[in-house]
Amino acid sequence: MRRFTWFNATSLTLGFVFLYLPILILMIYSFNSSKLVTVWAGFSTKWYGELLQNEAFMDAALVTLQVGLISSTIATLLGTMAAYVLVRGGRFMGRTLFSGMIYAPLVVPDVITGLSLLLLFISMGLDRGVTTIVLAHATFSMCYVSVVVSSRLVSFDRSLEEAALDLGCTPFDAFRSVTLPIIAPAVISGWLLAFTLSLDDLVIASFASGPSATTLPMKIFSAVRLGVSPEINALSTILIGIVTVGVVTSSIMTKRAAVRRKRQERAAEAQA
């Protein structure tokens, strides 16, 4: 028996007010007609219009999108491979170093990762720009992807793969038709995680990029240093809106898929 007390209700309410009120205020004031962000002067959508005409922001948004799409795809491929090696690879030389390198980027501060990558790019003589940001983002995101995917790989029944192999599948076919469908949700959420990490990153991108490429967070950061501006509020509102819609839809979809699977399992049990 669980009891839900007044204390629980109050702490949840206060907690969620604390988490959501700042974002809500930010979104409301993006519709403020005054240039002074803290003084309400009537409803207006003019900052959205100005934002769309601000070429610097639009260019930065395009760079960010490009970097995010490419780096998260590379990260998903590498991270899934790494997870497979960690969970199914058995013993090999340097395994400890490998798992260390997978987990370390999750805890190393961004400033250090960024600095070290920049020094690498310079000593390799690479021109800094979109390519170097993609390389940097793919590297730290692949570690997140591999953690997400390996937790799924650990929990699934290996005998399914073995059955496929016994029935004459090649290892690749077994992976494609048995393993991949089972780990697909984890791979997809790994990709989404990598994508949002890339969209979100300021510090590593600042080190890894050169004068030729500016990402949206870099642009926001330099604008925000000068203080609050209604244009940034409008931009934030758009970004938050996109993320919220994405997260809510994907969670509803996974929920539906789970319900459907349960129903099928139940039907199969009833038949048997």
Binding site: P22, V111, T139, F172
Partner: protein, 315 residues
């Protein structure tokens, strides 16, 4: 083509094929991480032992191509610990390290105080509410970190929303100075890192066996005693995990102190950034990074041990 292909496939021993595939699977992510994670650290270490120079890149000595073994030897003999000695001499640096660790510790305590009741409430909510509550905690984590920090600039400023409300209600007559102080940094950290504290605590509280609490109450414990004697000790693994998950990244935090902190807020992540981008002293920035990593290795190793023990206990 098809025939040749088929022939090739049958010509290769499946065992060799399997080995080749395995080598490929291991070597691609391995090589990537070696090149883009491990070697960069070696370079940071190397440059931290070099001297700053007015050159591009701005450090010396550098390994000249074609200088052979003699060049490597020259390089090694010209390395020194000068940058590290400088770090101990200039009080700015060790003060920044100490204050980063201190700010991280205080933030951990605040985050725990705010996060525990939320996790506790979530664990006690009914089954149909829990997924929604989970999503409400995770959702801010997906929205931009930078934007969430930025939201507080408008709230905490001298003309900010908080001061407006407080002045209007008559609680204060002069606006409070919160933005650009350490208090603002703490608020920013608690706000952005809260999910990292709530989720692991919730995970342990959710599994808690409620019969234990009932048994304790049957045996004469008050509710508060039962909470203190049963719930708190059983949620310890989650609390410890949450504390590490907040402490480790906060020590190296850059965005929050630079947007919400003031000139008196000393954090090493910001010092490193300024040393690199403003002073362009790459060797010194590298030395700062090396020491920061050494400081963080202790909590990281402790955290990993704790996680391992936790996993073994669950199996």
């Amino acid at each position: 083509m098809g025939v040749v292909h088929g022939h090739c496939r049958s010509g290769i021993d499946p065992l060799i094929m399997g080995n080749l595939r395995r080598i490929f699977l291991i070597s691609v992510p391995y090589g990537w991480l070696l090149l883009l994670f491990l070697i960069p650290f070696a370079i940071v270490l190397k440059i931290s032992l070099s001297d700053a120079a007015l050159a591009i890149p701005p450090y010396a000595p550098r390994l000249e191509a074609g200088s052979g073994l003699k060049g490597v030897w020259d390089l090694l003999t010209r390395f020194d610990l000068e940058n590290f000695v400088f770090l101990t001499q200039d009080s700015l640096y060790w003060k920044a390290y100490l204050s980063s660790v201190w700010i991280a510790l205080v933030s951990v305590v605040f985050t725990l105080l705010v996060g525990y009741p939320i996790a506790y409430g979530m664990a006690r909510a009914s089954d149909e509410w829990r997924p929604t509550l989970m999503m409400l905690v995770i959702l801010p984590f997906w929205t931009s970190f930078l934007i969430r920090v930025y939201a507080w600039i408008g709230i905490l400023g001298t003309n900010g929303y908080l001061n407006q409300v407080l002045l209007w209600s008559g609680l204060i007559s002069e606006p409070l100075v919160i933005l650009n102080t350490n208090l603002a940094v703490y608020i920013g950290i608690v706000y952005t890192y809260l999910p990292f504290m709530v989720l692991p605590i919730y995970a342990t509280l959710e599994k808690l066996d409620h019969d234990l609490l009932e048994a304790a109450e049957d045996l004469g414990c008050s509710r508060l005693q039962a909470f203190w004697l049963i719930t708190v000790p059983l949620s310890r693994p989650g609390v410890i995990a949450g504390c590490f998950l907040v402490f480790i990244p906060v020590v190296g935090e850059f965005v929050i102190p630079s947007l919400l902190g003031g000139s008196k807020t000393l954090m090493i992540g910001k010092v490193l950034w300024d040393e690199f981008f403003s002073n362009r002293d790459w060797p010194l920035a590298s030395a700062v990074a090396v020491i920061l990593l050494l400081i963080l290795i202790i909590p990281i190793v402790l955290f990993q041990r704790q996680q391992q023990r936790q996993q073994e206990a669950e199996q």
